[in-house]
């Protein structure tokens, strides 16, 4: 049973090359990847995750607004009582922000230089089992 992943770009950042590369790598690893396009609000992302019943949300942000947007996504998930979705982050995220993101529930942060295999392995090990 394929792992279902939502790859999402919150906020006003207009670059999704990285998100698309990751989406394709996950697809090639046998996962079902739902890509929702650029400029999503946290509310849109969480609603899509509910309707698509995904196991994983991969957030990508290159604009620097991750400390606002990622916690907002986590907050909305909590409000809906969703605890079993694995949430990861990626993009341009300074090392000093990572601890803060993990504190609000982002399981892992993948910065530049991460290989596709590292992401795939992490998801396979940590996504909920259906």
């Amino acid at each position: 049973m394929p792992i279902r992943v939502l790859v999402a770009k919150p906020g006003l950042d207009g670059h999704d090359r990285g998100a698309k590369v990751v989406a394709k790598a996950l697809r090639d690893a046998g996962m079902e990847v739902i890509y929702t396009g650029l400029r999503q609000t946290p509310k849109q992302i969480v609603e899509a995750a509910v309707q698509e019943d995904v196991d994983v949300i991969g957030l990508s942000c290159l604009s620097g607004a991750h400390m606002t947007l990622f916690p907002k996504v986590m907050e909305l998930l909590r409000q809906k009582g969703i605890k079993d979705i694995l949430v990861t982050g990626g993009g341009i995220i300074p090392a000093e922000d990572i601890a803060g993101l993990k504190k609000v529930g982002i399981s892992e942060v993948f910065g530049p230089g991460t290989t596709s295999d590292q992401i795939i392995d992490f998801i396979r090990k940590n996504a909920r089992k259906r």
Binding site: L26, I34, R130
Partner: protein, 314 residues
């Protein structure tokens, strides 16, 4: 727990609906009582299939249709089926990209589905996913598929109204859809109708429909022009879609189409189960040996099947 999911769906719980669809896709047998419950409570939604070649504008069109129906206070469920990779089983599902701004509307539920490698399987999972959205209280359920061949004809067997989307300037494409899809389309949309070649496309479609003598009672397939990106022709398309359903109701064809679809679904399920049970009885090793014999040209496939059937009898 599975019947709780059914009660959740009937009470309008979107997470229960989403969870149930996942379990349908996974082939989870334990949800059968839940699906039975939903089947008994269902049958209210107008189920519409939208198919067409990749890039014809299906997702954009569905986005605009959904917005228009929402203005009329109707709720809309959307199931977007995309192909999976034949090699890895993975899939990239991107239909939501064109539907971003309706995604948070509580009167809309969008679900992306991968074909998971087998066309019969799509039809099976899709039919039950339609049941879920119907039971969730959606007035309209749209099934979007990539129209590229026979498998789409199978998916179309679960809807009441079939809309085929084409674009101008693809003369050969219309040729290609002629065989299967032309006969199942109730409404043909020429999208991107602000492009050159729209007159020719319309002429060609009308001509082929003229020759189509599969004579559907009370309905002559209609052709509508749209420019989905500019919201042109959407209201006319909705009129035709609803007109088709009204006609089916008036002529008593809804029951007939329901029976035809149910017959097909029961047969499909039976085929699936029968194959599994025959194979289980024959045993995987003996089956492999049989396949080997056919591959080595010692036996024709017909005779291999005969062997399998005979063991069942004995």
């Amino acid at each position: 727990m599975p019947t709780d999911l059914a009660e959740g769906v009937l009470a309008g719980d979107r997470r229960a609906a989403a969870r149930l669809i996942t379990r349908i896709e996974d082939g989870d047998e334990s949800i059968r009582p839940a699906l039975a419950r939903l089947h008994i409570c269902g049958g209210k939604a107008h189920i519409i299939g939208i198919t067409g070649t990749p890039g014809a504008g299906k997702s954009t069109l569905i986005h605009k249709l959904a917005k228009c129906w929402r203005k009329a206070k109707k709720t809309v469920g959307i199931i977007a089926v995309d192909p999976s990779s034949p090699f890895t089983g993975g899939a990239l599902l991107g239909d939501r990209i064109r539907m971003q701004d309706i995604a948070t509307d509580p009167g809309i539920f969008i679900r992306s589905m991968s074909s998971r490698g087998n066309s019969g399987g799509v039809a099976r999972a899709t039919a039950d996913a339609v049941r879920v959205l119907d039971a969730l209280g959606m007035d309209i359920v749209i099934v979007e598929t990539v129209g590229a061949g026979q498998s789409e004809v199978a998916v179309m067997d679960i809807v009441q109204t079939v809309v085929v989307v084409v674009v101008p300037g693809l003369g050969d494409d219309i040729q290609a859809i002629k065989a299967g899809i032309l006969e199942i389309g109730d409404i043909f949309v020429i999208n991107k109708a602000d492009r050159d070649g729209v007159e020719a496309a319309q002429r060609e479609l009308e001509m082929m429909l003229e020759f189509d003598d599969s004579s559907r009672k009370g309905w002559r397939p209609q052709v509508v022009r749209t420019v989905a990106t500019k919201s042109e022709g959407i209201e006319e398309l909705i009129e035709k879609i609803e007109g088709h359903r009204d006609m089916m109701k008036k002529e008593g064809l809804l029951e007939e189409s329901e029976r035809r679809r149910c017959r097909r679904e029961v047969l499909e399920l039976l085929k699936h189960k029968a194959v599994l049970s025959l194979l289980a009885e024959y045993g995987p090793d003996d089956f492999d040996a049989l396949v080997k014999a056919v591959a080595e040209r010692k036996m024709h496939p017909h005779d291999a099947v005969e062997r399998i059937m005979e063991r069942k009898k004995g």
